[in-house]
């Protein structure tokens, strides 16, 4: 592997690490930021996601080979890891490390964009149901019940049947539109509680319309749980994308995604375990990292867990009464009242 690529690898990793450090520095003064970085899994998960993302962005610089070129179909099939091929080659003689990097682009992009679709739709539906209540709420929530009770893999299989090979945009929207049900329930519950708070009445008394009340007053006060769910949904949709690609209805080869890399390599698991292990571990680590970040965000944004009791649980609270009270409400955007 040329030295330039190694340098690029280190550079990209350093950028990711630097990003985490900057965020850490910036949020140190805020109790929420401290709670997040005090949570070791969240710290490491965030680090992993940051480095993975910067490697994915820098894939053309870092990857030593093209992800789709078959280097030597006779001589380089299923070669074990070596200095020239860090993670070996697959059965078509493609470089697994390069495919892993390009696959990260696809998998992370699908994960992030599907998550956005799911969160936007889930928030819109949940906020409508929670704010309007009554018949609107009942209809929307029964629809959500149906959505939660039908395994989404079947819906996506039907959807995939509409195309010979599903385009990436359809995959993203399809995954997003089948992943918002849980979010909408959560947002509805938050909106139901926030809408009864005094300042919402005050906003209505000022003459604010329903859209303004929801967008300006209710949702920002429900942002914590929504952000936490976003992290968890990201992990879930990446897993779903991998599963679909593994089944052959997700991302179309030769474009690499971590799921279809496993699908390609699964028949040669004995001969070339590295070509299955690399994408498999990548999926496992990134999904775990999303869950860890979600946990950390919950600790940071949920006042019920980030107060003194949570610090006691972590063994950091002291009985030092002279310690200054935190100047902000412990919740960041939410607060006790």
């Amino acid at each position: 592997m040329p030295a330039v690529k190694l340098l690029a690898l280190l550079g990209a990793a350093a950028v990711g690490w630097l990003a985490v450090t900057v965020v850490h520095r910036r949020t140190r003064g805020h109790p929420g930021g401290r709670a997040f970085f005090d949570h070791a899994p969240a710290r490491w998960g965030f680090m992993l996601l940051a480095v993975t993302t910067s490697l994915a962005v820098a894939a053309p610089l870092v990857a030593p080979y093209s992800p789709t070129v078959q280097l030597d179909i006779v001589g380089l099939q299923n070669r074990p890891p070596s200095l020239t091929h860090l993670l070996g080659t697959d059965l078509y003689s493609r470089d697994v490390w390069s495919r892993l990097l390009y696959g990260a682009r696809v998998s992370l992009a699908v994960g992030a964009l599907s998550m956005l679709v799911a969160i936007v739709v889930g928030t819109a539906v949940g906020a409508t149901a929670g704010y309007r209540r009554g018949a609107v709420d009942a209809i929307l929530m029964r629809f959500v019940d149906v959505g939660l009770s039908v395994p989404r893999i079947f819906i996506l299989l039907v959807l995939a049947g509409l195309w010979d090979q599903m385009p990436l945009s359809a995959l993203i929207i399809g995954i997003g539109l089948t992943s918002w049900f849980g979010t909408s329930r959560l947002v509805r519950a938050e909106v139901l509680s926030v809408r009864e708070r005094e300042f919402v009445h005050a906003a209505r008394a000022l003459g604010a319309g329903p859209a303004r009340v929801v967008l300006q007053h209710i949702l920002p006060n429900a942002a914590g749980p929504i952000i936490v769910t976003a992290a968890l949904v990201t992990g879930a949709v990446m897993l779903l994308e991998s599963g679909l690609s593994f089944l052959g209805i997700g991302v179309a080869p030769p474009l690499p995604s971590w799921g279809n890399m496993i699908a390609d390599a699964k028949d040669h698991m004995r001969a070339a375990p590295w070509s299955v292990l690399a994408p498999g571990l990548a999926i496992g680590l990134v999904v775990t990292a999303c869950a860890a970040v979600g946990d950390g965000l919950r600790a940071a944004l949920d006042p019920r867990r980030s107060g003194r009791r949570a610090r006691l649980a972590r063994g950091q609270a002291s009985l030092d009464l002279s310690a200054p009270m935190s100047p902000r409400s412990p919740a960041g955007p939410r607060s006790h009242s």
Binding site: G134, E196, R197, E198, F199, H201, A202, A203, R204, A205, L206, G207, A208, G209, R212, Q216, H217, P220, N221, A223, R328, S329, P333, R334, S335, S337
Partner: protein, 339 residues
Amino acid sequence: MTEPLLRVRDLRTYFVSARGPGTARAVDGVSFDLFGGETLGIVGESGCGKSVMSQSILRLVPEPPGHILPGSLVEYAGRNLLTLAPRELRAIRGNRIAMVFQEPLTSLNPVLTVGDQIAESAIVHQRLARPAARARAIEMLQLVGIPDAAARVDQYPHELSGGMRQRVMIAMALVCHPQVLIADEPTTALDVTIQAQILELLDRLQGELAMAVLLITHDLGIVAGQADRVIVMYAGQVVESAATPALFAHPGHPYTAGLLASVPRLDRPRTRLEAIPGQVPAATAWPAGCRFHPRCPYAWDRCRTAEPPLLEVRPGHAARCWLVEEPARREAPPRAAPR
């Protein structure tokens, strides 16, 4: 007499619950007029319906479970606010009729700066652009006497003291120079010195902006100092209405007399404070006849069976009590209320 600014007639707001004790008649036939520039005090114990009444005027009662009965009328500028389309009603809320809420701690949005919240009604009603609205917010903060307004405008509610927050609430309500200000217990959550400042502020602004103020409170001291006229509410009804001096000098209703007797006074010889026995009955089951009779020291048979209308004591002074028709009974030594 001049035309009233706000005319409320037979306002009834009921809360219906499918389970539980049934319909709560929280506001049950309230009528009054509010004239331009005056301060009308609304007094009564907790649970007598004064807050629900004030929220009903702008239709802010959550529906369901609450609903305002069809026969009710809240007339402003020739239109019934209770039947107005939501969009037209929103054009009045915060613009022509504004409200100051009881709890300055919970009535401000914790995630928005106070400037954003004051600017909001200017943006909603006057379609001001953000920079102009911000300038307006600073101006309003100065008007309500907050020092260093240019810096305060970017602070969050939790960075302000209780008195400051109530000033911010008042600033929010006054941005559009409303004709009517409904102040629902504006000083209850504040300590006495701050209370005095806020009342003084309301008084000054009322003069500057020529507003009518509907001052809802349970504190007779505030009413005595601020209000031109007073309405006493009990059990969802108006039981007495009079000009402030007349009410304090000659309370026509035993409930009003009881309220007055239960206030400690520094300018009278020390006597034992009277308390009105019992408490406001549940809104789901108002007593038959006069709603106050179970607690009334004068109550006789007529009170238990027939509900008195508002009877005129003298012009401009009315009380919902049969004693107005049978003043002789007032001389009879009051016995302790049965209970």
